[in-house]
Amino acid sequence: MARERSMSQSLGSLSRQLKQLRVLMVGAGGIGCELLKNLVLSGFGEIHVVDLDTIDLSNLNRQFLFRHEHIKKSKAVVAKETASKFNPSVKIEAHHANIKDGHFNVAWFKTFNIVFNALDNLDARRHVNRMCLMADIPLIESGTTGFDGQVQVIRKGKSECYDCQPKPVQKSFPICTIRSTPSQPIHCIVWAKSYLLPEIFGVSEEADMDISENDDNIEEIKKLKEEALALKKIRESLFKDNFAKLIFEKVFKQDIDRLRSIEDMWKSRKPPEALDHDEIAQASAGIDPGVSRQDQTPWSVTQNHAVFVDSIRRLVSRYKIMQGGHTSPVITFDKDDEDTLDFVAAAANLRSSVFDIETKSKFEIKQMAGNIIPAIATTNAMTAGLCVLQAFKVLKGEYHKAKMVFLERSTARVINAEPLHPPNPSCVVCGNASSNVLIDPTRATLGHLVEDVLKQELGYSDDISVLHESAIIYDPDIEDNLSKKFTDLGLKSDSVITIIDDADEDPRVNLSLSINEQTLPEDKQPVILPDKVEVPRKPKQANGIKGPDSLNGNGEQQGEKRKRSASISTEPHSKKQASGKTDDALLVDDSAGGAIVLD
C-alpha cells in the first residue's frame, strides 16, 4: 500500500510484524498523546490505552489529541477517538480505569508484546514495572520534566528494572519545623496547606498522626496537639461573622506568643513576631481582595490579610452549600481551585512575615504547593519518538543495541544515551522470585499459607513477614490474622502478596505470589502451589543498595540529623533526574518515626 511505502522500506520485516502486535500504553497525557500518534503512524496493529484521568484545561498546551470541548472527559477515550481517525486500519482499545485495578492482572499483561509507560507518578510506574517483570513482557519506561526527558528499556533478567536504582527521596520536613520553627517559605506553605486548611475545612491530620514521643520533643508535641484542639474549637464558630478574625488571632497571635515564650527555642534564632489583627485589619480595610489576581508579585502584609479574610469568606460559603448534602463536608487543597490556593498563599505569607521569612508570589506558591512540574510539547515529542525507537530494538530482540536515553537542556549534544545496565542483583523488586498460589476461598486462611505452604513445604523459618500492598498482614508479632480467611483480609484473585525472609543468616530473596481463587476438593489442602517454587538466597552484599521501602523510610535518618541541627534545612539541591522528579510528593515526617504523605 502506497501509504506505508517509506515505513516498510525502512523497517523491512519488522514493519509486517508490527501489524500483528498488541501494545499496551499506560497513560494518555503528554508523552501518551505523542506516543499514540507515533504508534498509529508506525503501523502497530492493536493498541490498548489505559488512563484514569480526565482532561484539564492546563493539558491543552501539549496534549494535542484533546480540545477545549473535551475538558472533563476521559483521556483514554478521547485519545482513542481522535487518533483512530488517522489510521482506520489500526485497532485502539480505551480503558478509562486505574492500571492498578485487579482485572489488569498478570495474565492480561501477558497478552501484550510490549508495554509503554507514559505516566506521571512513581506509584503507578512501580506497579507497571512489577507487573511487566511478573508477566515477563518488555517495558519502555519514560518521563519528562521541563526540558529534560528520559527513556529506559526494562526487561526481566536482561536489564535494570525501574526499582534497581534508588529513586530520589521525597521532600520531607520534621513536624517541628513545620509547626514551630519554620525557616523557609516552603515550611510555611506546607503549614498552610497541610495543617491549617485541613484543620479548618477538612479532616484533621492529627488523628492519623503516629507520633512516637521521645524526650526531646515530647513537651512540644503535646503543646502542638493542644493547639490543634483549640483550633478545632474555633471551627465551631465557622458561620459567625468574626470567624476569620478568630482564626487569625489564634494562629498569628496566640500560638506565636506561646512559641515565643519558649525561650530555649529562640536562643539561636530570631523569635517570631505576632501580628496584631485589628491594626492590620484597619490598614487593609480599603484593599480590594481582587488583588489575589496579581499572581506574579508577592503581596504586602495588608494585601495578604485582605486575601486571607476574603478566601475564608468564599470557603465558608462553599462549606455551607456542601453541608446541604453531607454532614461533614471536606474542602481539600487543589492547586487549580482558586479559593484554596488563595487561602494557602495568604496564610503561608502571613506566617512567613511572622517568622521574618521571604514571602512568595501566588504563582510561585502554586508551583510549590501543587508540585507543578513544567511540561511542554517539544520535550514530549522527542521523548515519545525515542520510546518508539527503543521499542524497535526490543521487538527485534536486539537488547544489546537498546539504550537508556536522556534528553538534556545543554546544547553540547542534546541527546545522551548509554547501554542498558544489567539487573541489580540486590534489587528487591526484580531480584524477586514470583509464582502463583491457588486458594479455596471458602476454606483457606492465612495460617494455611504460612504454616502448611511457607514453613512446611518451602522450608521458611519463623522469621518471615507477609505483605499485601506494602501493609504487613503477618509477622511473628502479628499472629491475629492467621485464623482469618483470605477473603476477610481483602485477598482475592489477582491480589499479590509478598513474602519477606527476615532470617539473619542467609535469607532468601522476596517471593511474590499471585493469588488464584479456585474451589479445591475437600480432601486437598485449601492452599496449594500449582508450580514448583524455588526461592534463591539473597546475594551476600545485599545491604549496599536500599530498596524502595528503606527509601521512603530514609526520612528517619535525615530527620534525626536535622533535628540536632538548629533549623535550616541543608538538603543539597538534588541533581536533576527526569523521571523521578515528576513524582515528588510533599511528605511531612515526624523525626521520631511517624510520617504523613501530604499529596
Binding site: 517509506s6 492546563s58 498546551n61 534564632r269 481582587g290 508551583q367 525507537l389 546544547t411 542534546v414 538548629a566
Partner: protein, 565 residues
C-alpha cells in the same frame, strides 16, 4: 438540609483561561517569553514529504505561537496519509499546505495560520520575507540555488533561519542566526549562578566575617557546628594568609587550604564531624575562584553597538554599555547577590543574605545611574525599566552572545564556512568517545549528497509534482549521491586510512537513505519536529541557549551530535 444562603457571594475572578492553559510552560519561559511567542510569525517553506515541518508547527501552535504561514506546492497523495498526522482521507487531491493548516489550527483557536500553494522559488521571488519572525526551510528544496537564495535573504534581513532534513532514520537541523545574537536570560543551572566574592570580599563582608568568627575556637559545639561555610572559608583564608606572607594562590594552594580547613573541624562529637565544615570543603573548589569577566560578555563589550550606542539602539546595548562603564571602574561584574542554602542558624543566614542583597542592590543602582546618564546623553525620553536593568545585572555573568553564521547548503561549491580542512576531517573521523561509535558527521555529508542528487533529478524532470518519487524512480540516484560524496571527500585532500573508512561509512548511510525510499518516517520527523520547535522557542523568546549551529540525529543509534560550522 441547610437553607440556601440568601446572598451568593461575588465570584472572584481567577487567572484567565489562557493563563491556565499555558501554566505549565509559563513556568519555563515566563510571561515575557509567552508574549514574544504570541507576537511571532513563523514561515514554513515546506517540501519533500513535508512531515517534519508540520510536526514542528504542531509543537509551536500548541504553546500559542501567534501566526504561521505554510508555503507548499504539493497536492496530497495517498503516501502522505500514511506519514502525516495532519491530513485525513478527505484531504486527498487537495492542497497539502491548506489541509495541514486547517488541521493544525484545530489545535489552538488562538493561533492564526495561512497557506500559500506555490513553489519555494516562486514564493521567495515575489514576497517580502521581512514580515516573518523566523523561517523554517525544509530540504530537499530541489534546487540548491533556491536554498542558497533563501539563506542569503534571511542573512541580509538578520532573520533567524532553520534548515532541516528528515530522511529515513536520519535528521539534521541547522540554525542560521544573525551575526550578533545576544541572550540575557540564559537560565543557568543554580549551582553555577553563585558568585560569592570570597577571594575579593568587599569591606562590609570581610568585617562581618571577622566579627562573627573572632572567637571561633572558643565557640560551644553547637555554635561551632553552625557557622555558615561562607564565613568559615573567609575566616580560614585570613588565617592562611597570616602564615603565607598574605598570599593565597588559587592555582597552587587550594588542596592544602582545604586540608587546613578540614583540620579545624571538631570530630570529638556524636557525628564524628561537622556538617558545616563538610559543606565548606565541598564548596571550596567552586567558591574559591577569582571572579572573571566571561568571554561572551567580553566580546559583547567589544561590539560596536555597545561602544557607540545610538539614540535608536536597543535597550540591551545601553545596558551593556552601562555595565562596561561599571567594569572599567571596578574590574568586577555587578554582584548577583544570591546566597545558596547552607547549614547555619536562621539569624546568621538571614544576616548573610541581606549583606549580599545590599551589595547587589548597590551595584545595580550604580549601573542604573550609568544607564540614566547615557539616556540623557542620547536624548532618549523613555527610560529603560528598572526591572530590565536589574535582571540584566543579575544575569551579567551568563549573558551569551552567539555569532551567527551562514548555512552551508552545498559544501562542494561554497566550502565549510571558515572551518579548516583539518577540522572537517576531525569531525568526519572522530569516534564518539562515549559510545565508541563512528562520528555522526558523515550523516550530514550523505544528506548533502542526497540534496545534490535530488537537485540533479529535479533539473531533468522539473515538471514532476513529487520530487522524491521522481528521485527514487531514477536508476542513477545512488550514483549521483555517491559521486557527490566522493567529491566532498576528495576535497578533504588526505590519504589517511581513517578517512577512507569514513568514506565507506558515509556511502553506507547513503545506501540506507536510498533504501528508505527516500522518504520520511513519521516517528523520526516527529522527534525532529520536537527538537526544531525547541530551538525555535529559544530563539523567539531569547531565553536559554540555542544550538550553535548544526545538530545531527541518528535514529538507528538514538544519538545526536552538535557541530559548529
Amino acid at each position: 438540609m441547610a437553607p440556601p444562603i440568601a446572598t451568593t457571594p461575588p465570584v472572584l475572578q481567577g487567572p484567565s483561561a489562557k493563563e491556565k492553559k499555558y501554566d505549565r510552560q509559563l513556568r519555563l519561559w515566563g510571561a515575557n517569553g509567552q508574549q514574544a511567542l504570541e507576537s511571532s510569525h513563523i514561515l514554513l517553506l515546506n517540501s519533500g514529504a513535508g512531515v517534519v515541518g508540520v510536526e514542528t508547527l504542531k509543537n509551536l501552535v500548541l504553546p500559542g505561537t501567534g501566526t504561521f504561514t505554510i508555503v507548499d506546492e504539493a497536492v496530497v497523495c495517498e503516501e502522505d496519509l500514511g506519514v502525516n498526522f495532519f491530513l485525513e482521507q478527505s484531504s486527498l487531491g487537495k492542497s497539502r499546505g491548506e489541509e495541514c493548516c486547517r488541521l493544525l489550527l484545530e489545535l489552538n483557536p488562538e493561533v492564526k495560520g495561512f497557506h500559500i500553494q506555490k513553489t519555494i522559488a516562486d514564493f521567495v521571488k515575489r514576497s517580502d520575507l521581512s514580515q516573518y519572525t523566523l523561517i523554517i526551510l525544509v530540504a530537499p528544496v530541489g534546487s540548491l540555488d533556491v536554498a542558497s537564495e533563501v539563506s542569503q535573504i534571511a542573512w541580509d534581513l538578520r532573520q533567524p533561519l532553520i534548515y532541516v532534513h528528515s530522511v529515513g532514520f536520519y535528521s539534521h537541523t541547522s540554525v542560521q542566526l544573525p551575526p550578533s545574537f545576544p541572550i540575557v536570560d540564559t537560565h543557568p543551572d543554580p549551582p553555577s549562578t553563585q558568585d560569592l566574592r570570597l577571594l575579593q570580599p568587599w569591606s562590609e563582608l570581610l568585617a562581618y566575617a571577622k566579627t562573627q568568627t573572632a572567637d571561633l575556637e572558643a565557640f560551644s559545639d553547637h555554635d561551632h557546628g553552625h557557622v555558615p561555610w561562607i564565613l568559615l572559608l573567609l575566616h580560614y583564608l585570613e588565617k592562611w594568609k597570616e602564615s603565607h606572607n598574605g598570599e593565597f594562590s588559587v592555582r597552587d594552594d587550594k588542596k592544602a587550604f582545604r586540608e587546613f580547613v578540614g583540620s579545624h573541624a571538631r570530630t570529638d562529637n556524636a557525628e564524628g564531624g561537622e556538617e558545616n565544615y563538610d559543606e565548606a570543603l565541598t564548596a571550596a573548589n567552586r567558591a574559591l575562584t577569582l571572579p572573571t569577566i566571561p568571554s561572551d560578555l567580553k566580546s559583547l563589550l567589544l561590539e560596536e553597538e555597545c561602544q557607540i550606542p545610538r539614540n535608536s539602539s536597543a535597550n540591551f546595548w545601553l545596558i551593556v554599555n552601562a555595565i562596561s562603564t561599571f567594569i572599567k571602574k571596578h574590574s568586577l561584574l555587578p554582584l548577583p547577590g544570591t546566597v545558596p542554602d547552607m547549614k547555619s542558624q536562621s539569624k546568621d543566614y538571614i544576616a548573610l543574605q541581606s549583606l549580599y542583597r545590599q551589595k547587589s542592590q548597590q551595584d545595580i543602582s550604580e549601573v542604573t545611574s550609568n544607564v540614566r546618564a547615557l539616556e540623557h546623553a542620547l536624548n532618549r525620553h523613555i527610560p529603560i525599566p528598572d526591572a530590565e536593568i536589574s535582571a540584566f545585572c543579575k544575569n551579567a555573568a551568563f549573558v551569551k552572545l552567539i555569532h551567527g553564521r551562514k548555512l552551508i547548503i552545498n559544501p562542494l561549491k561554497h566550502g565549510w564556512n571558515d572551518n579548516s580542512i583539518t577540522t572537517i576531517i576531525e569531525h568526519t573521523t572522530t569516534m564518539n568517545f562515549v559510545s565508541g561509535k563512528p562520528s555522526l558527521f558523515p550523516i550530514l555529508i550523505a544528506l548533502y549528497g542526497f540534496d545534490s542528487a535530488i537537485a540533479a533529478a529535479a533539473s531533468v524532470r522539473p515538471e514532476s509534482n513529487n520530487l522524491l518519487a521522481a528521485a527514487s524512480a531514477s536508476p542513477g540516484f545512488f550514483t549521483l549521491m555517491e559521486t557527490y560524496i566522493r567529491d566532498v571527500f576528495g576535497k578533504l585532500d588526505s590519504t589517511s586510512e581513517d578517512l577512507d573508512e569514513a568514506l565507506q561509512h558515509t556511502l553506507n548511510i547513503a545506501r540506507e537513505i536510498q533504501r528508505s525510499g527516500p522518504g520520511e518516517l513519521h516517528n523520526i520527523s516527529s522527534l525532529t519536529g520536537g527538537m526544531i520547535a525547541q530551538e525555535v522557542i529559544k530563539i523567539i523568546t531569547k531565553q536559554y541557549v540555542p544550538v550553535d549551529n548544526c545538530l545531527v540525529f541518528d535514529g538507528i543509534e538514538s544519538a545526536s551530535a552538535v557541530y559548529r560550522l
